[in-house]
Amino acid sequence: MNDNKKTYWKGIEQLSNDPEFVKNADREFPEFLPINGNSEGGGSSRRDFLKMMGFGIAAVSLAACEAPVRKAIPYVNKPVDVDPGIPNYYASTYTHGGDYCSILVKTREGRPIKIEGNSLCKITEGGTSAQVQASVLTLYDRERLGLPVIGGKDGTWEDLDKEVIAKLRSIAAQGGQIRIVSNTVLSPTTKQVIEDFKAQYPTAQHVVYDAVSAHGILAANEESFGTRAIPRYDFSRADVIVSFAADFLGTWLSPVEYSRQYSKTRKIGANKKTMSRHYQFESLLSMTGGNADYRTRIKPSEEGKAVVALYEAITANKKSDIEYINKAAADLKKAQGKSLVVAGSNDPRVQVVVNAINSALNNYGTTIDLSSPAYYKQGDDAAMDRFVNDVKGGKVAGVIFYNCNPVYNYKGGAELAEALKKVSLKVSTSDRPDETAAISDYVAPDHHFLESWGDAEPVQGYYTFVQPAITPIFNTRQAQESLLTWAGVQTPDYYTYLKNAWARRGVSGNAWDKALHDGILGARSASAGVEGDTTSLASTVTAAAGAAAFAGDVSKASAAINNIKGSGLELVIYQKVAIGDGSQANNPWLQEMPDPVTKATWDNYLSVSPKWASENDVKSFEGKCNMARITVNGVSKDVPVLIQPGQAEGTVGLALGYGRVNGGLVANGRGVDAYPFMQVQNGVVAYQVLSGVQVEVLSEVYQIAQTQTHQTYMGRDTVVQESVLSKYQDDPFAGRHDPKIATWMSEEGSVHPGALSLWKGHKYNNHHWGMAIDLNSCTGCSACTIACQAENNVPVVGRDEVINRRDMHWLRIDRYYSSDADPEDKRGLEIAAANPEVTFQPMLCQHCNNAPCETVCPVAATTHSTEGLNQMTYNRCIGTRYCANNCPYKVRRFNWFKYHDNGNFEDINTPMNNDLGKMVLNPDVTVRSRGVMEKCSFCVQRIQYGKLEAKKEGRRPKDGDITTACASACPTDAIVFGDMNDTESRIYKMLNINDTDGPDYITEKEILEPRAYHVIGEIGTKPNVTYLTKIRNKDIEETKA
């Protein structure tokens, strides 16, 4: 056998025992396989191959499952001033007709996402309103026109310009009349543009009207003082304020400005124990009326008589039987020169008497300044009437509607639409195919104001600027540029035109840059030097101006007023705080903003008094109420009824701004259009109908979507704590309800509820964020609600879901009416008083130190931060809703559905359902998915940003560096946010905090301010949000609960 033993070699290397061969002899593939790039470890190459193949297959199959690729286009060259993640702020100005607000626009990666107030502005002083806050969403409204429209079809600018110029010239050649119709124009340069246009077309005239006119004030001042102007009011100097149906905090003239001034007179504290006294005489319960100390319900037909009665009580000591007139007169006389009487009436005769009262009280020169008039309303009802008649008479050949919509928002809109058929050239510059644009031959869509250049002169001699924060989204063109083009101006570029115009006024170069940077140019005359005056506007009020002699004919006016008679039901037509005249009706944030008083969303309604409702057997439960048919002069509309405590008997109210036909998918068909009910009385548009109003209750039931359906606070003293000024002056603890818990642990036998706890408490070594809300300053305007919505990507849910009580607002304003019932009568307490006292209470996550929500979450998705925040981790939330149930403040909001990219919410929640709308979303805040809980975070993204900015500069954040969206939006400074560990902070001083450091940190902060309280503090949640008591300037407490 041995003989047979042959040896075979694999090759010569084996035979020669080549060391290289021996090394790899035991391997299957001694040579390196080509697939392995490694020079070492050839043996593992097959495994690597398999691994790679496995990974490859897995990766390919995973890639196939991946969500669709999102559009993200990187910069090829990074712009100098755009850093991803870092916001840029641009000063600009919000103007909408005569509505005015100086703003800062926050842009992220080149897109405006948030509007803040501009604190440099001496008029609005950093305040904003809900409409201003919401206007950024209108920028991203995909229903804006993207192209010029020619005869109802998309066209090009060249064609449009060619045709419009040709038609204008032919009209001009034939001597035909041309009209430019607009709302109030605040911009001096735009007015110059119109002048240029008129120069080219001499038959052109500029007709100004306002949807809600202030013709009465203008005419009255012309009669009384010879100047057709609205004076500048200064509520901050008034100790006694009397308003006759002027909703000056909500909708009248310049509510942001007036709210700011008003709030200054309402703030009280250890150093200032006086506040203004506010009388309101009105038919509807307006937001301003809700803030009044004394409120009298009067019919619209009695409004003028009440003014006359007050005049006579002041000048002739004549007693009136209208409630509180005598009292108001006495208070006014005591506060001569420090009082203010205003009226919302559009009747010049009423305004003449108001002027007479103010003149008799020597208010001119202190609280009223005629020398620097305000330009908020320039509409001339008579001129507009002439225009409508001219159109009807076929005298007008061409009309340019400059950013206005008279077919919808002028009283005779329907007639005008009919008559306009006779006009051969109709051009609209509307940004959307609205009611007027729809019947125009040409639509030359204007930019949104955030895409525009411009300026504004809200008050004589005070200028602010508009600069674009984004390049135009659509193929739109600034209306001024359109006018210049049609006027044949050589360089119609409006930026150049504006810059040149200001250069002519002496503002150029650095001054121009600074003006744009600041957004304002101080109070100064346009022709004065470059030096901007930044002193308070109020200081410019001189005695000379005040001395303007009153020359009105009071006796004639009084006599005429006393002849005003109403019969039957009287209708009041008013504006709601959110929707106003309806021009921003396609903005879902505003549609869903609860009305400050009624808490109704998405609709207008016929407000009736509870007495009328019971007489007509109308009942309401959870917003469900009968419909009613209201007929005025043959015009009938079916409207839902809302029972409104505080409404004057014999009156009904209906809001403007609804019933849009061509407003957009969000706005169309919401509510009914109240403009057709407006009438002309004595040559002016009246916002009231004094006779011939018929209301028939229908059996049909309609549910109004209200976010709050229980009206009273049920006498719960720990929810709303309030008192009257006289008591507060005696005892700063007045109105405080301070429940104690009995215990053997203290010598007194009882302690504060927060002092007894299962928990050890928190030690905040670094920051301790807190908020203070002054119930005395809060007017209920809801700017904070919308600011929060914009900042935190809060979804809009629509009418149906509001009816299901699923509104998502992180910050709501609870509105409570007082009740006349005995505190023990629980059923009776549910019914509001006929003329209730009103309390507005902003309610948001209280960031409790002993948070009931934190203990019950099974997955620890809501936890406490080391800085006192109650945090919500959306990614961890599994949606048991236990936290929301256990929240005593009911501020947690659940994502019942997927609100983004969901066809059911497409025309409701536009900011989350189309690519354009989504541009408004704040990239710092997650859009929450279906099935998770969300709530106020104290704007944690702003806190984080502020901390990081401070860290970069190597310092601690200063007070004021970090503030929440609600606090910064508030026009009345009612919300103060800050670090309660920072002894220099406003909140620390405001609450008079005493740091205590017990052995187990049971009490984190002892708050010594007498007015400060925690809502339902007795359950020991120890919130980081503190409220200051509501103090009314009444002589005695009148209501019990």
């Binding site: 203990t855 099974p858 005593p888 998770v932």
Partner: protein
């Protein structure tokens, strides 16, 4: 082995012999399904079908298909959960506590009662799952599992987490207890089986039971041990469920009386449900000799006792709400009785407090029709009890601004129907394929045939 006094009334009537017991019980398992069974099954499956649609839509669209809102975050979901858990109390109580107390009358009803318990707990467990906004994550995030998210853990402070432990423990112990009891009976069926499939299936189910004395001895000790384990669970499960409410701050929930009151209520509703089911089973399967009037009467007495405990608890709550002087607490109870949900409150009071008192009358508590109706009324009342506690407390709590109403939608009802479909499908399958009465135990209480011949 078991000594029974000859003067006592026999627990099984009709002079049944040991062989009769086997025949009577196995007949159902071995025979073809009856028409009434098929009809019952068809209805159950139809209900399950409708319910499955509701569950599908709930998962597809979101919790918003229910009628819940920002104020009332739980309504039918947790009401149903607590209701089913309550029903699931009777089985273990009967088999464990009554075993420890040597109540032999339990023997003919414990099997079905335990099966009911298990199915009811399964139905109950649907709700904590389905009520979650994100079930696809919540079903395992709610468990303390090790994970790759660092120290991310469940919140041991949360009563919902305690529920997870309480329910799962209870379910596991009940299931094991029930199954152990089934083994000797499966063996009997196996031994009698004629076709191969039955032999194989019941053979596997009986785990090789050999009937040896040693096996019986072990069987008895295991039963005792499990009874000992299950007894505290009967009390703990509903105690922990009540903590969901008792540890919260909501007026009407924050009540220390809840644990005993919930346990009593659970036994109350559980016995009522056992009665409802047993009265039907007894009739359909002709088991009148095993489940006698005596059984029914004894169970009705338990219902009077527990119903009265519940009634006292309701009144105590009211008294304390007034006596404590806590405004919100008082209003919560005042509102229950007189507010917009007064009808729910008074339905609860009538069904739970007044109607069981009828059982003081012997004629009523020994009347089958009356018992059947009242057993259903009791469970309606107990459903309303949970609805009243959950919805009327939440809908008007501390801040009147948030007060709201809750209106159920089709999907609220649909998911409830889903659990009904599930329950009855499972129970019908059990009734057909499993021995509904514990043959092995019942045989121990049969009076011997010699006694019978002596008569």
């Amino acid at each position: 082995m078991q000594v029974t006094s000859s003067v006592r009334e026999p627990l099984v009537t009709g002079g049944k012999t040991v062989h009769d017991v086997t025949e009577d019980i196995c007949r159902q398992v071995e025979g073809r399904p009856t028409k009434s069974w098929m009809l019952g099954m068809a209805i159950s499956l139809a209900t399950l079908g409708i319910g499955t649609y509701a569950v599908f839509m709930l998962l597809w669209d979101g919790i918003g298909v229910w009628g819940l809102n920002k104020t009332v975050g739980w309504a039918w979901d947790i009401t149903n959960f607590v209701w089913w858990v309550g029903i699931g109390h009777a089985g273990t109580l009967i088999s464990a506590i009554l075993l420890l107390f040597r109540q032999k009358w339990r023997m003919s009803i414990n099997r079905a009662a335990e099966a009911m318990t298990i199915f009811a707990v399964i139905c109950a467990a649907c709700f904590p799952g389905l009520h979650m906004g994100r079930l696809w994550l919540g079903f395992y995030w709610a468990l303390p599992l090790p994970n790759t998210w660092g120290s991310l853990w469940v919140n041991f402070n949360s009563p919902l987490l305690w529920d997870v432990f309480a329910i799962s423990t209870y379910f596991t112990v009940s299931l094991v207890f029930w199954y152990i009891g089934l083994i000797p009976d499966f063996a009997s069926i196996r031994d009698r089986a004629t076709n191969k499939i039955s032999k194989a299936v019941y053979g596997a189910l009986s785990f090789g039971w050999d009937g040896a004395a040693k096996t019986w001895a072990r069987y008895e000790s295991v039963a005792l041990i499990l009874a000992g384990l299950a007894t505290p669970l009967v009390l703990s499960v509903h105690t922990i469920v009540s903590f969901d409410f008792a540890t919260s701050v909501i007026p009407g929930w924050h009540t220390t009386i809840f644990p005993p009151y919930f346990v009593a209520g659970a036994i109350f509703s559980g016995f009522a449900m056992v009665l409802t089911l047993m009265l039907v089973t007894r009739k359909v399967f002709k088991l009148e000799d095993y489940i006698t009037i005596n059984h029914i009467e004894l169970m009705n007495i338990v219902i009077i006792i527990t119903g009265s405990i519940v009634g006292v608890a309701y009144i105590t709550e009211f008294f304390i709400a007034w006596y404590s002087g806590v405004e919100a607490e008082f209003y919560a109870f005042y509102n229950r009785a007189t507010g917009p949900y007064w009808w729910a409150y008074w339905t609860m009071m009538t069904c739970n407090v007044i109607s069981p008192q009828l059982f003081w009358v012997k004629k009523i508590r020994t009347n089958i029709a009356a018992t059947f109706i009242l057993s259903i009324i009791v469970n309606i009342g107990m459903w309303f009890e949970r609805f009243v506690i959950i919805v009327t407390s939440l809908h008007r709590d501390y801040l009147p601004s948030s007060w709201a109403m809750f209106y159920p939608t089709f999907y609220d009802v649909g998911v409830y129907l889903f659990t009904f479909g599930l329950f009855f499908t499972a129970f019908l399958l059990f009734a057909k394929f499993f021995p509904v009465i514990n043959m092995a135990e019942v045989k121990s209480i049969i009076k011997s045939s010699s006694l019978k011949s002596n008569k």
